[in-house]
């Protein structure tokens, strides 16, 4: 049964400015195919993760180490960034800094144009999604082809990722089979996953070989040695960073680690939390461009460090815990909201619990203020977070910031009170602080409440999917008094 989206749901009623989460969630919840695709994927990922961390003692010690390593890196972030820059530069990697996504796009475009590059092959990178880099390059005559299978699929489909680790998780193989048959020349319809995978390999092999440049993200940037660590299963990340003559890596300023040894515990946390794999097929550690005498590898390597609000978030010690994130996606895989509505409902690059705290901080509460409300605060995300980010606490903090701003680290706070809110809460206060009015209104509801039709606009949000509650004929106070309790009896 299709249910119309209730009028007003998702409108600014105390949810900060809307991103349409409510209305989109409603549509997603009524899409059985989407629900089935996510349910299957999320159940599988949760089971596999649980199997990896069956030893509670090991999980506890490893996670404490992982959280401490990330917290240490953030504690002296500016010094580590300076060290990282110095080490990378000494290793022959050129470092660029961008305050905004616009600046980062311009830097990447500038490097490509200077090299005369027109064909780009891309490894998976959420930061370039945050920048909408592909569209920017396309507008400037540069073709950027995504090479991670999931990213390739959604690029063919003209969509955005719905999950930060498995970007096309919202699609089933029939949809992908149709897409490939329509978009890949010579490809006939097949739902055989091996054949679909082989078709992508064939279509992309030439793209790797002809690419003038490769663009990738970074999982960890090690300050101690000037090393960029990239993890993946497919080999497309290694190809993007090895085969073309130019490699541009793009990352957020928070991805830095103090020491190379810090990679080990995080590497033991990230793939196990993400996909339940003990390790990814490839861990690619890049510390420089091709040296004289070496026969392959890019001749130039660049790193673009993107801020985009992160240094502002850093100004608040509590909220800066958001920056510990290693992008494993365990929080979304376990979120009762995300697993039901999927990633596209969130409208922004980072969906799920981490998105709900990261997006409003990067973009501003005035522009993504409904995101922190898309949560039941059940705490499943915090329970599985490998670096112990207290996501529910930060959600609550951001909800507070939306009403009473207390920190300059938060952008667009204080705008989260609408007229409906003020009237609603004002009325509630008036009612509950005056005994006479309160008694009168409950009496009236007892008498007339059940006469209210279920289709009344505000009631319908409830009654469209649930039975209308019945008002008791007598209030609790009345019943108590009738049984001989007096008001001041303890």
């Amino acid at each position: 049964m299709a249910v119309d989206a209730p009028a007003g749901f998702g409108a600014p009623t105390g949810f900060g400015a809307p991103t349409g989460f409510g209305a989109k969630a409603h549509v997603a919840l009524n899409d059985p195919k989407l629900r089935a695709n996510f349910r299957r994927a999320m159940d599988g990922l949760m089971d596999k993760r649980a199997a990896q961390f069956s030893d509670a003692g090991e999980w506890k010690a490893l996670r404490a180490r992982g959280a401490a390593v990330r917290a240490r890196a953030l504690a002296h972030l500016p010094q580590l960034l300076e060290q990282l820059e110095a080490r990378l530069t000494a290793n022959g990697i050129t470092v660029h800094w961008a305050e905004t996504t616009g600046e980062a796009n311009a830097i990447v475009l500038g490097i490509l144009q200077q090299a005369g590059a027109t064909r780009v092959i891309k490894g998976k990178s959420m930061v370039t999604e945050e920048m909408h880099l592909n569209a920017h390059l396309e507008a400037n005559g540069i073709t950027a082809v995504e090479s991670d299978l999931g990213e390739y699929i959604i690029q063919l489909a003209g969509q955005a990722p719905s999950h930060i680790v498995m970007p096309c998780i919202h699609m089933n193989k029939a949809e992908i089979a149709e897409l490939f048959a329509a978009k890949i020349p010579g490809q006939t319809y097949t739902e055989n996953v091996d054949e679909l995978t082989a078709a992508a390999r064939k279509a992309l092999r030439g793209r790797f070989a002809e690419a003038d440049a490769g663009i990738s993200g970074v999982n960890f940037a090690v300050a101690e040695t000037g090393t960029l660590v990239l993890i993946e299963n497919e080999g497309n990340g290694r190809l993007s960073t090895t085969l073309p003559p130019l490699h541009i890596a793009v990352t957020g300023i928070e991805k830095v680690l103090e020491k190379l040894e810090d990679v080990a515990p995080l590497l033991s946390l990230l793939p196990r939390s993400a996909t339940g794999q003990v390790i990814t097929t490839y861990v690619n550690m890049i510390s420089g461009p091709r040296k004289p005498g070496e026969k392959d590898g890019p001749k130039a390597v660049h790193l673009v460090l993107l801020d985009n609000g992160r240094s502002r978030v850093y100004g608040d010690v509590e909220l800066a815990d958001t920056l510990r994130c290693i992008r494993c996606a365990a929080c979304m895989n376990h979120c009762p909201v995300y697993t039901r509505v999927g990633g596209h409902t969130y409208s922004f690059t980072y969906p799920g619990p981490i998105g709900k705290i990261l997006t409003p901080q990067l973009e501003g509460l005035d522009c993504a203020g409904d995101q922190p409300h898309a949560s039941t605060l059940c705490g499943a995300c915090a329970e599985v977070c490998p670096v112990q980010i207290p996501i529910p606490d930060l959600l609550a903090r951001l909800r507070t910031e939306a009403v009473t701003p207390s920190s300059i680290a938060v952008k667009g706070g204080g705008g989260g009170v609408s007229l409906a809110d003020s009237l609603g809460w004002g009325g509630w206060t008036a009612l509950y602080s005056r005994p006479l009015v309160y008694r009168l209104s409950t009496r009236l509801l007892g008498v007339f409440g059940n006469l209210m039709p279920a289709w009344l606009p505000m009631l319908r949000q409830w009654t469209s999917v649930r039975t209308k509650p019945k008002f008791a004929a007598k209030s609790l106070h009345q019943l108590a008094r009738e049984r001989g309790f007096s008001d001041d009896q303890r």
Partner: protein, 228 residues
Amino acid sequence: MTSARDRILSRLKSAPRRTMPERPDWAAPRYGEGRLTQFRAMLEAAHAQVTEVARAEWPSLLRLILAQKGVTRVLFAPATETGRQLAAAWANGDAPQLVASQLVAPQLVAYDRPMEEIKEVLVHEVQAAVTTARSGIAQTGSLVLWPTADEPRLMSLLPPIHVVLVDKARIVDSLADTMAAEAWSGGMPTNAVLVSGPSKTADIEQTLAYGVHGPKELIVLVIGDDAP
């Protein structure tokens, strides 16, 4: 005018100072005598083929394995010890088993010049490549590759079959151990890679498929001084 760099750093530096937590105790697991068993089990679980072979035997065994797979062109690194052994053994005539099997013996293709000069061969023609691992990691079933000028990066990446030799004595417990024991932080190579199976993806309905961009098959030869 200040730069983006200066503005970012100055914002970060003006933030309230925070306490620096210590690294709490954590140690990667140890396997003792069970090291090789763990290494093999993890690699096999990741769909790799693991074979123990004596130092003198591996070139002829490999030639047979590759011939059985129908491989005719094998990329090798002529200037490495592994490459020299391979070339010497394969030049020495076909092994009796291979002759008896009537299979076509694979031929070697040297990776001895810059990638740009043999790109077509690398990208589309060679069917297998043979490289050496610096060490093996038991915990995760990983091969530690430090490609060099003599044994370049693309060898372990472009051909559909990747053959790796790892010395039995160089199988260690964990990444943390080997990083510390070999003082990696003292200087990293241009590229270091951990390989823990053939290339794979589960992007389509979480169904595993191998060889999406990198090698479809990973053959690990564990080299010992005696016959296994």
